[in-house]
């Protein structure tokens, strides 16, 4: 979609400034080396942060430049044009945004700059074996002790836990109020004896996630985000944030490459498989590509409308749309391959892709809230339909029957 932002003298000067800065400082991507959770580009990201390009929408006090959206997009485009990472974190950095909005001043002074430079590894400690869709049913407890809290419980579906410095944790701090009102939100230090991380093997035979067993782990006072027992509200902003980027994160092939082939990948597979002249195949391929393109158009329109200041309902639909795309693409890819799809392994990359996609589609349709939960959210928050009655919403959590 064409960019409708008009160049003004201000944005032209800004563009010149950021381009000059990049010309002087950016010398191509640093060599990627194994680093424990910290971003290998940390030195570069720190430079970007200190120059004010990481979060230009934020105030100067917080490494920003107080730019409006149009100005910030000038910065992001200049970085993208140079192939330089690190800009636009005021839109994309879940951890830094959450910390800035909700952390105590003492803690965010320390953590926000580290997060912007990728100097600390992070993970999410939300779901539990007994609290998936019903996240407010968590039973991990944080008990008040001298100087902070002691935490005990079990978390699941945590990616990067083994290399993380902090986990964004929700834990129950009051058992005598209804479930949503007794939860607090913390930054849990992960590198301590009471935190035990074990890998979880997925249906794709990969291990991107962990289970985290927490036994009497300590959280310092300053690491509470938002009010005590006000963690549910903090979580909502963090979750909305996560979902809005999830539609774009979805992987197609096992390699994760969407690459330049982009929308044409399925068309190319049909051609390679010698089936592109089959009218049924042509209809299926056209429909899947159409859904992908429609999802992109929806996202573009949502962003454009947000910039115009009108509220948009489209962002919440992206993840739901992507679920349908991935499951259907898995089906079409599999049918294109026929018996070849019975195989796996490096000698059968097309089968590997089709089979992986067919399984990994659930990453999108279950992860981050199932499609069914997304439909509830869309129905209730976007379309204004009434909530399903919840029998445990007003009951003290201590008295809620657990499954």
């Amino acid at each position: 979609m064409s960019d409708t932002t008009e160049a003004t003298p201000d944005t032209a000067a800004l563009q010149a400034e950021v381009e000059a800065w990049l010309a002087a400082h950016w010398h191509g991507a640093p060599a990627r080396e194994e680093s424990f959770g910290r971003d290998p580009r940390a030195a570069w990201l720190a430079e970007v942060r200190d120059a004010g390009w990481a979060v230009p929408r934020w105030d100067a006090e917080w490494y920003g430049r107080g730019l409006d959206d149009a100005g910030a997009r000038v910065v992001e485009r200049a970085f993208a044009a140079a192939g330089a990472p690190g800009a636009g974190q005021d839109r994309s950095n879940l951890w830094a945004n959450t910390a800035l909005a909700h952390a105590t001043d003492a803690f965010r002074r320390v953590i926000v700059p580290q997060l912007l430079a990728g100097e600390v590894g992070m993970c999410l400690l939300y779901s539990e074996p007994g609290a998936g869709s019903d996240l407010a049913a968590i039973r991990t407890r944080a008990d008040r002790v001298e100087g902070g809290w002691r935490v005990t419980g079990q978390k699941v579906w945590t990616s990067g836990a083994h290399i993380a410095d902090y986990g964004m944790l929700i834990a129950r701090t009051d058992w005598d109020v209804p479930k949503h009102r007794g939860i607090s939100f913390f930054f849990l230090p992960m590198q301590q004896p009471g935190v035990d991380v074990r890998p979880l093997r997925q249906i794709t035979d990969e291990s991107h996630f962990n289970e985290v067993f927490i036994t009497d782990a300590f959280i310092p006072e300053d690491n509470l985000l938002g009010p005590l027992n006000g963690g549910w509200g903090v979580l909502q902003t963090a979750l909305a944030y996560e979902r809005s980027v999830m539609g774009d994160m979805a992987r197609g092939a096992r390699s994760g490459a969407k690459g330049a082939r982009g929308d044409y990948a399925l068309l190319e597979l049909a051609q390679e498989a010698g089936q592109i002249d089959d009218p049924v195949v042509r209809q299926d391929v056209a429909q899947v590509i159409a859904w992908r393109v429609l999802n992109k158009l929806n996202t573009q329109r949502a962003k454009a409308e947000l910039q115009q200041g009108t509220s948009s309902s489209i962002m919440s639909l992206g993840k739901l749309a992507m679920s349908r795309i991935l499951h259907e693409e898995g089906r079409v890819r599999t049918s294109l391959l026929g018996p070849e799809s019975l195989l796996e392994g490096p000698d059968h990359p097309r089968a590997e892709d089709a089979n992986f996609l067919s399984l990994n589609a659930y990453f999108t349709s279950i992860g981050g809230g199932t499609d069914q939960i997304q439909r509830n959210i869309i129905g209730e928050r976007v379309l204004g339909l009434p909530k399903e009655p919840e029998v445990d919403r007003t009951v003290p959590f201590r008295d809620v029957r657990s499954g």
Binding site: Q287, I289, N295, N298, R375, N376, L383, L385, P386
Partner: protein, 368 residues
């Protein structure tokens, strides 16, 4: 692709700001609120012609009939983007007036015809010839400026003052009294059609280079109508799901109903995106900035909007339950309109095939 530089509208394109577009939509919405109530639509639906002359005059008075007509001929000189927005409003109320035919005719007609069209004094029906005959059933042709054969399923044929025949090799005008119109018993009574038997002289007014653009204009107009219809059925159905109570609670609180609504929102949003993108691509194409993307965008809008509108109408009725199975409830009017829209200018399978052809063409372009 047509040589769009020849089009009369390309020279005098007027562009509107977002605020001006909003104002245009407000104006049109007001006209529809006054003259296209459900009662109006039902009255017109049961009339002989199925045409709302009062609404048509009101639309002419605010400039809608001349939307695409060159300012030199009394029109507004606007383009596909504004047309699409107006059609969203029209689709929301099932306006029984020849908006799509007129939009297509506006880019084909010139001179006095264009002036009368803009003024709302002329209704023009469009007959597509040769490869452009989307019905695949017609035999209309023009040889040495003599028209013959039968054009099938011509929208607005019954009320047309003039017929515009357009194909690969020319554009011709034939007056109403030179043809025989056989009205068809259309399932969608708000979009009447007729078979047109041709036998006589036709006045040549163009080379045929305009035909593709006229067809594209029709696609954009129809897509806008379908996006508007999809949105209206979604809203009607969610409103009802909030109000209707069973088992002591609003039916919209049941996940079985709520999840249907969420899925329809995705359909309605996708239709809006597709229709607006097609309009934008066509607008850029008209000023020579478009390219390969235009064909894909139009094909996408043609089936995505048709399918979305049909799904919203169908599932919307299901969400309502028994009340929407009655004739007196408006939902079936939207389903009828959605079903006629799926056929008009080619069905969804046809357009999915055209879409993949456009993707293949873009793929070849990228390869060289």
């Amino acid at each position: 692709m047509s040589d769009v530089a020849e089009l009369p509208m390309a020279a005098e394109r007027v562009t509107l700001s977002r605020e001006e577009r909003d104002a245009l939509c407000d104006t049109v919405r007001r006209v529809f609120a006054d003259h296209a109530t459900e009662g109006d639509v039902r009255r017109v639906m049961d009339s002989d012609t199925g045409h709302d002359a009062v609404l048509w005059r009101a639309l002419a008075d605010v400039g809608v009939t001349g939307l695409l007509v060159d300012p030199a001929h009394g029109g507004s000189g606007l383009g596909p983007i504004e047309l699409e927005l107006v059609m969203e409003e029209a689709g929301a109320v099932i306006a029984p007036v020849p908006l799509i035919s007129s939009a297509m005719a506006a880019v084909l007609l010139d001179g006095a015809y264009a002036e009368r069209l803009a003024a709302g004094d002329l209704i023009a029906a469009v007959i597509f010839l040769d490869d452009y005959d989307w019905t695949g059933r017609g035999s209309a042709r023009v040889v040495d400026d003599m028209a013959s054969g039968v054009a099938r399923f011509v929208p607005d044929a019954v009320v047309a003052d003039v017929f515009v025949l357009t194909g690969s090799n020319g554009v011709w005008v034939v007056p109403r009294d030179a043809v025989t119109v056989t009205p068809l018993p259309t399932f969608d009574r708000t979009r009447r059609m007729g078979d047109v038997t041709l036998a006589g002289a036709a006045t040549r007014i163009g080379t045929g280079a305009e035909t593709q653009h006229a067809f594209d204009i029709g696609i954009v107009a129809l897509a806008g109508e379908q996006a508007g219809g999809a949105r209206r059925m979604l809203n009607m159905s969610t409103d009802y799901a909030r109000e209707r109570h069973q088992f002591g609670r609003a039916i919209g609180s049941f996940q079985a109903v709520k999840h249907m609504a969420a899925d329809l929102l995705l359909e309605a949003e996708s239709a809006t995106s597709a229709a607006r993108d097609a309009a934008r691509q066509l607008a850029e194409d008209s000023v020579g900035k478009g390219g390969a993307g235009k064909d894909a965008a139009l094909a996408l809008a043609a089936f995505a909007c048709a399918d979305a509108n049909l799904r919203c109408a169908k599932d919307g009725i299901q969400m309502h339950g028994g009340i929407a199975f009655t004739w007196d409830h408006p939902a079936h009017l939207y389903l009828r309109r959605a079903r006629s829209g799926v056929q008009l200018l080619g069905d969804s399978s046809h357009w999915r095939e055209r879409y993949i052809q456009a993707l293949e063409a873009a793929q070849r372009e990228a390869a060289v």
